[in-house]
């Protein structure tokens, strides 16, 4: 029994975590040919960066109508400035390995970051620029000017440089610590940057430019992720969680103020928030308790129907109009009750079977709402017509339908709902994280890991599963009551199976069991189709494809929960060491 306590280095030494390709390219890290290798890669990389910069100053097409005019030499357009930024980042990653910045390289400098950046730049130029130009102009490939080809070559060279760079024995960026104020500053700046990027991105009208911007953000993120930046960030954030939380909410609250009273983006933002709040509730069921729920949308629907039936709408079917707070509570409790009923089979069935049971419940809910129309049953829901004309919310005289002024900035109807939903999602995140970091959360993990062993260790398996179902349903029901007012009407077809699939996809795509990931997944799934109307017809096709590809190549989601990642990659020993090293770094 060794006395190795939290020394990730000694773990790393036992197994080589690099892929065979890296080793082939680099030889052994200490072998004499490493400096030559470094020089060669360095030169290739510099040439690549030079080509990228050159490309940014060249013409990309003759057609001035495309991509915000990139026809000029010596005067970069927006999408070319993106390229410049990416080139600078590549230069930075090169210079930390050799030259003036190499002192930083003691900590930074995973060559995978540079490689990912190079590949990303190439894809950016091929898809977001090249394909976008060639597909919109009649001349097809003939519409491309040399600048694009120069850039692609540059991107490939950067990728090659990243590939050829010898593996580098850095101390590891995750050991790098700065004074607390600096770390806090980094967190705050990043959040502010995210807000600025969101406001900027939503302001882009031209879909092609929007796609280019998204590609740009994705490339930068991929470079940072592969370079280990997010590992470091997750440790830093672990130490300053409150700061991140406050900064994020401050940024989110500030968002409507950037919109100058325009409703276009705010209406998208509110629908994103409703979706995200529901997905976060589902995340408790799927991400924490590990139960697959394919009928989750029914809980949102239950809340919405309760909200509608007890509202002041002339079409409301129940003649009792309590204040909204009461309605919200009733909606949530009714959904929770449904959750209890739907959850009760978990006592006897699990896994795939449970998923099908929940799907069947979801369909039963939709069909029931459809049938309670007065012909096939009591008239509670007006069947397929639904309950329309639900009035605006009104809290103590504050009318959600009216535009209010806030320090001279107009706050519109959608912004009003946006603020309310922000509070709601904040509450749901609070519930999620606090449950996760508690005795109950540990019980859920234990159940996911080994249900029988958990039971044999005294964990109340059935109780915890039911709790997840009922708790998740409660939150979705709460969101539903707000949704009814925000949408103005409630109909059964808003709550069909496909919506449940979308919610599940948001959780899976973002990263089960994470807060940031699921928010990101919800934003991607809801925002992109709204913003990219031109592919509205292909939305579902791409959605299906995305699910298949994600499960094949990155089942743990974009933002991986470390433990979840291990569950999906059961035999990856290097990953297990890595996760442990990061964990140790966080707790010390």
């Amino acid at each position: 029994m060794s006395s190795s306590v939290s020394n990730p280095g000694s773990h790393r030494a036992e197994r080589d975590p690099r892929s065979w390709r890296d080793r082939l390219a680099a030889g052994s890290p200490d072998s004499p040919d490493a400096p030559a290798q470094l020089n060669r890669a360095f030169v290739i990389g510099l040439v690549g960066v030079a080509l990228l910069v050159a490309s940014a100053f060249m013409s990309w097409t003759y057609n001035p109508a495309l991509l915000g005019n990139v026809t000029l030499y010596g005067n970069p357009g927006t999408v070319q400035i993106y390229l410049l930024v990416m080139a600078l980042m590549a230069l930075f990653l090169l210079l930390i390995r050799k030259g003036p910045l190499s002192r930083l390289g003691r900590h930074l400098g995973r060559q995978t970051g540079l490689r990912a950046l190079g590949i990303g730049i190439t894809l950016y130029l091929v898809i977001a620029v090249g394909a976008s130009i060639a597909l919109t102009d009649d001349a097809m490939l003939g519409a491309l000017d040399p600048g694009v080809y120069v850039g692609i070559l540059g991107g490939l060279l950067v990728a090659a440089a990243g590939h050829l760079l010898p593996t580098h024995k850095a101390v590891g960026e995750r050991h790098q610590r700065f004074p607390a104020w600096l770390e806090i500053l980094v967190v705050v700046l990043l959040v502010a940057l995210a807000l600025a990027a969101a406001a900027y991105g939503l302001g882009i009208g031209d879909p092609a430019l929007f796609v280019a911007f998204l590609a740009f953000v994705a490339v930068i993120a991929a470079g940072l992720a592969r370079g280990g930046f997010f590992d470091w960030l997750s440790i830093v954030v672990g130490h300053h969680r409150t700061v991140l939380l406050l900064a994020t909410f401050a940024a989110a609250f500030a968002f409507p103020l950037t919109q100058n009273g325009s409703d276009a983006n705010m209406s998208i933002a509110t629908s994103v928030l409703i979706f995200a709040a529901t997905a976060m509730g589902l995340n408790i069921v799927v991400g924490l308790a590990g139960l697959l729920d394919l009928g989750y949308i029914a809980f949102l629907g239950a809340g919405a129907y309760v909200g509608a039936m007890l509202s002041e709408s002339a079409f409301a079917t129940i003649d009792w109009k309590p204040p909204f707070i009461i309605v919200a509570l009733i909606g949530a409790l009714f959904a929770a009750l449904l959750g209890l009923i739907i959850g009760s089979p978990t006592l006897r069935v699990s896994g795939d079977y449970l998923a099908i049971v929940t799907l069947a419940f979801g369909e039963i809910f939709r069909l029931t709402m459809f049938n309670l129309d007065g012909n096939n049953g009591p008239d509670l829901t007006h069947g397929p017509n639904g309950i329309p004309a639900i009035p605006e919310l009104n809290f103590f005289g504050f009318d959600f339908g009216a535009t209010h002024a806030f320090f001279g900035v107009p706050i519109t109807r959608f912004a009003n709902y946006y603020f309310l939903l922000l509070l709601l999602i904040g509450f749901i995140i609070l519930v999620f994280t606090r449950l996760n970091n508690s005795r109950i959360g540990r019980g859920w993990i234990a159940i996911r890991e080994d249900e029988k062993a958990a039971e044999a260790m005294g964990v109340n398996v059935f109780g915890l599963k039911i709790l997840a179902f009922a708790g998740g349903a409660f939150l979705a029901g709460l969101a539903g009551t707000v949704k009814a007012h925000q949408d103005v009407s409630v109909t059964p077809d808003q709550y069909q199976f496909l919506e449940s699939a979308f919610l599940l996809a948001a959780v899976v795509l973002g990263g089960m069991g994470t807060v940031g990931g699921v928010l990101l997944g919800a934003v991607i799934l809801k925002l992109l189709p709204e913003k990219l109307r031109f592919f509205a017809d292909y939305r579902l096709l791409l959605f299906g494809l995305l699910l298949v590809l994600m499960m094949r190549f990155r089942p743990e989601g974009l933002v991986a929960n470390r433990r979840r990642q291990l569950e999906f990659h059961d035999d990856d020993e290097a990953l297990a060491d890595e996760v442990e090293a990061i964990h140790t770094e966080k707790v010390t």
Partner: protein, 277 residues
């Protein structure tokens, strides 16, 4: 829990103390197969009882009957003066915890978290408490953590709390399972082949650990194949052959019983494999 002496308590003294666990006529049939047949067993407080027998003798099946994983076809089990509740979870609450023959840790949790899960049934923070984070929650959470750390130290894993269970060496995983079982505050601990796969030094350490557990007032029941280990460890040994209790007595008696020798030499080649729950 102290980490005091490890000297064996004389067997006679333990047998005078009150009974903590007793099985009466426990029989388990699977279809036509009788895996366990009318086995009686009595365990006193502070006693270490060994359960031996050739492969397929029904040891693990008997264990599973004791821990509520199986409901015995006939017979009854009493724990601390009450009949054994029917579910594994309730058995743990009643004061009996176990380890598994094939280690069943929560692989992707840290060692400390594994032990903290063991505290689940002795803590009570519900969802509301967890969300509101009042003083009660903090107190309980801290106590859980402290107790888990204490138990890790007790089994000799004090410095490894933050390691993932799956990254621990085999011997440490076995100790961690014991720590997790102890976290449930058991009156009786059932260990299913605790030294399987251990080297002699680790086996020796394991023996000391079991003595230490006993010295803290718990009774221990051990299934083992390692005869030397069992005879050095236990106050009393039961030998199971083909589901029936063949011999019971102090280690010396069982060791020298010709039927035990016969069962091991004659029986082991006929039986094929250990039954697994």
């Amino acid at each position: 829990m102290s980490t005091a002496t490890t000297a064996p308590v004389p067997a006679a003294a333990a047998q005078d103390s009150p009974t903590i666990l007793s099985a009466r006529g426990v029989t388990m049939r699977f279809g036509g197969l009788t895996a366990v047949n009318k086995v009686d067993m009595t365990v006193h407080e502070g006693e270490i009882v060994g359960l031996i027998g050739p492969n397929g003798a029904g040891k693990t099946t008997f264990f599973n009957c004791l821990t509520g994983l199986y409901k015995p076809t006939e017979g009854e089990v009493w724990l601390a003066g009450a009949e054994l509740p029917p579910k594994p979870r309730e058995v743990v609450v009643a004061g009996m915890a176990r380890t598994f023959q094939n280690i069943r840790l929560f692989a992707n949790m840290t060692a400390l978290e594994n032990v903290m899960v063991g505290r689940y049934c002795r803590t009570s923070s519900g969802p509301l408490t967890s969300i509101l984070r009042g003083p009660k929650f903090r107190r309980e959470e801290e106590a859980t953590r402290a107790r888990a750390q204490e138990l890790l130290t007790f089994v000799g894993l004090g410095g490894k709390g933050e390691h993932l269970a799956r990254n621990l060496p085999y011997g440490d995983q076995r100790r961690l399972e014991i720590a997790r079982a102890l976290a449930t505050d058991p009156k009786v601990v059932l260990l299913d082949e605790p030294t399987a796969g251990m080297n002699p030094r680790e086996t020796e350490e394991c023996k000391d650990l079991i003595f230490k557990i006993r010295d803290n007032g718990m009774a221990v029941v051990v299934i083992e194949h390692d005869m030397k280990f069992i005879f050095n460890l236990c106050d009393r040994v039961l030998c199971l052959v083909r589901g029936e209790l063949l011999v019971e007595g102090d280690p010396g008696t069982v060791q020298s019983d010709p039927r035990v020798v016969e069962a091991y030499i004659g029986g082991s080649e006929l039986d094929d494999e250990e039954d697994e729950h």
